[in-house]
């Protein structure tokens, strides 16, 4: 059935089809519509779940963890400061190997306070042991909600899963979405079965201290299971394609990369704009392409290295910065390329912070920057290495606001 839905609504439909047994809900813009729709589904009887009105995000994820420890399928959703507020519990859930599925509406982090979309919230928590997927469309958001449970609950993975939707760009933007029938969803996603749960016949102690001699093993398995999720994701997507007729391309999604000279790496909804610019540049003979990262964890290092091995320069366009360093995705991509020995020169484009528009012109300019970098690197690697590789979009060094809260410095320097 096709319906015209916002990203939040589409995600909620996916959650409904997944039949979670416990939902811990706490509102935060721009996630709120998700928990509103789910409450309506529970009220109307469309969804048989315990809907818990927790008093904070910290309690939301803690409640989901307690429910998961009983073997229940659980869902919660958050955004931005809410995600940061529950950050402590992210590591509990991951270390406890509770396959909770959580939707995160990507939103800027304070200060300055801002409700609009960027990806600083989830990328700041990359190291907390969760699978992180980023949707490009509302259809993908709905489908990810279903696939997330299948991946997270697989006993080889048993790791929590964060489905990220760009705040407003997806959460509040409407698209036509195909909603699977419940029978299809049930055929794809069986009920959650696990041994990682309380048992009244054979009681268990879950979550504990472990000294150094054991701790390293727990952490190693956690890493191994998350890295190994890549293979499970491929299996799940294949099964999804068989049941639903929609096929997803794995950890990355390549567009017009076959003969690309330069490539842009992206995350989430901005990819649509980049595809459009690529089509325009291709029309005038420029060989440019896109690699959209769908999963930042497990990190698709091998896929990226293969996809980018023959380009002359690669850019990373991201709505994020690790202050004092560079974009977090850029760091990860560079590591993948360096380990693969590709020698591809790279450049970081940081934009869209606090919901700022990333424009067609900016993306086009970024591609030209990459082509210039490729030429320079071919002529003189030394000269290329001196180029500033981290660029902020839309910053006018002399413009209004360029001098911070105190305004332009008097007298100037």
């Amino acid at each position: 059935m096709k319906r015209f839905l916002s990203g939040d609504e589409a995600l909620a439909e996916g959650v409904r089809l997944a039949r979670p047994q416990v939902i811990a809900a706490y509102p935060i813009t721009p996630q709120t519509v998700v928990v509103e729709r789910l409450s309506e589904m529970v009220e109307s009887g469309q969804l048989a779940a315990e809907y818990v009105h927790v008093e904070s995000e910290h309690s939301a994820l803690s409640c989901a963890m307690g429910a998961s420890a009983t073997g229940a399928r659980t869902f919660t959703a958050t955004s931005s400061q809410g995600l940061l507020y529950m950050a402590e519990v992210l590591t509990y859930a991951a270390g406890g190997r509770f396959p909770i599925v959580m939707m995160n509406a990507n939103r800027s982090t304070a200060l300055p306070w801002n409700i609009y979309g960027d990806q600083r919230d989830s990328l700041a928590l990359l190291d907390h042991g969760w699978i992180q997927a980023y949707a490009e469309s509302n259809q993908e958001a709905l489908d990810l909600a279903l696939m997330a449970y299948a991946v997270a609950e697989d006993p080889r993975v048993s790791t929590p899963f964060m489905v990220n939707l760009d705040g407003f760009a997806l959460t509040h933007t409407y698209e036509n979405v195909d909603i699977p029938e419940p029978a299809q969803a049930d055929a794809f996603l069986p009920p959650y079965q696990t041994t990682n749960r309380f048992d009244f016949e054979h009681p268990v102690n879950m979550g504990y201290s472990a000294g150094p001699e054991f701790n390293r093993y727990f952490k190693y398995w956690e890493h191994r299971a998350l890295a190994g999720a890549a293979a499970v994701i491929a299996e799940v997507e294949e099964r999804f394609a068989q049941v639903m007729g929609r096929r997803y391309p794995g950890l990355i999604d390549a567009y017009r990369m076959d003969d690309a000279d330069v490539a842009m790496v992206t995350l989430g909804s901005v990819s649509g704009l980049v595809r459009q610019v690529i089509d325009q540049l291709r029309a005038v003979g420029l060989r440019v392409g896109l690699v959209r990262i769908r999963y930042v964890r497990p990190f698709p290092a091998g896929d990226l290295a293969r996809a980018l091995s023959s380009v002359r320069a690669a850019g990373v366009l991201e709505k994020d910065v690790s202050f004092g360093a560079e974009g977090t995705v850029f760091t990860n991509v560079n590591s993948a390329l360096q380990q693969a020995g590709t020698g591809v020169p790279t450049m970081n484009f940081i934009g869209g912070l606090g919901g700022d528009d990333i424009t067609e012109q900016q993306v086009e300019d970024a591609f030209f920057d990459l082509m210039a970098l490729a030429e320079l690197a071919a002529e003189s690697p030394r000269a290329a290495s001196a180029v500033d590789r981290v660029r902020f979009l839309g910053i006018d060094e002399d413009g209004v606001g360029a001098c911070g809260a105190d305004g332009p410095a008097e007298g100037g320097e």
Binding site: Q21, V22, A24, A49, E50, V52, H53, V54, E55, S56, H58, S59, A60, S62, C63, M65, G66, A67, S68, A69, T70, G71, A72, T74, E88, V89, Y92, G95, G96, R97, F98, P155, R156, S158, T194, T195, N196, R197, F198, D199, F200, E201, H202, P203, V204, N205, M206, G207, Y208, S209, A210, G211, E213, F214, R216, Y217, F218, W221, E222, A225
Partner: protein, 391 residues
Amino acid sequence: MAQVERWSEVLFGAGVEAPEEPPAGAPGVSGRLAASGASAAGGGGAADPGAGSGAVGSASAVRLEGDPDDSVRRAGRVSPRQASGTSRPSARTLPDDELFFGHKACAGCGGSLAVRAALKVLGPHAVCALPAGCMSAVGFNFPQLCFANNAMITPFAATAAVLTGIEAGLRAQGKKPEDCTVVGFAGDGGTADIGLQALSGAIDRNDDILYICYDNEAYMNTGIQKSSLTPFGAKTTTTPAGRNAHGCLTQKKSLFEVVAAHGIPYAATASIGYLPDFMAKVQKAASLRGTKYIHVIAPCPTGWGCGVDETVELAKEVVDCGLWYLAEYEGPAVSGRPGGAFSLTRHPHGFSSVEDYLRRQGRFRALTDDEVAVVVAGRDQKWEAIRRDWA
């Protein structure tokens, strides 16, 4: 001061002999630990604790073996829901089974006694959640896991939220046994400070859980730092006694009344010095639906500066001298009275000496006579209010 001579008196009241040997059939610590890593740990080396630990591949869950079925069967003879309302827990009805043992608590630990006694009342189908704190630190050291019933650690602030999740999860799956109490054991800091928001949320939702705060009056697990339940005048490592201040400058937060103000179905104060009273309250709480809260004073010799054999006596004396009280609050739904009803479960006709109580503890050593008089005056004011409002 008389020493406690008879363990049976502590646990069961006077007139009962303590068994000299562990109760027959009580499983040994090592026998219970079938966690995959347990044998490896016994070998003394760093071994992969996951080998064979189950399908999860990392398994946060460690299964307790050593015939748990037998433990369930034996302890099951006093299902708390069956027993509730018929008889108070006593030496005659309490099971011999130990559900919390083999832990690393300090000698004389009051908190572990509270957990042990409560679980004897609640039985093996209780599901426990414990935040960071003494009881989780001493009871959850992989592979030495000390709960014979289902139990898990929670984030420090999240005891009540995890309890909510456990209860909702069991109920949603139709897997909650009739005699299952979902119970939390959190310390004073974990309850009155960092965990208060989650506790308030659970009471607001009236989730069917029992929250037990074992109050040892400071952050003991981290080395005796002040909490909001540390009493006036107590020296802690963050309220030192020096020339300018004699320990803690604030009064103990009245958390029992904070909880009662929510209109919670049932709340109680208790002391491990009056164990039958505490256990009766645990039993009563287990028989009621909705959120229940029990605040039990549990002295800590390490933090209080007293002998390890003085724990129980101090827990009696704090009640006898009037600095703590044994009370209940029944909310509107239970009491049938708008606003609910407070009552005392022990009516003191006179008080023993506050000064004697304070002076036998190292933490109050710096208090001057004037400051002791302030404590006494505070006690008298509190009791004036109790007798006026709760009678």
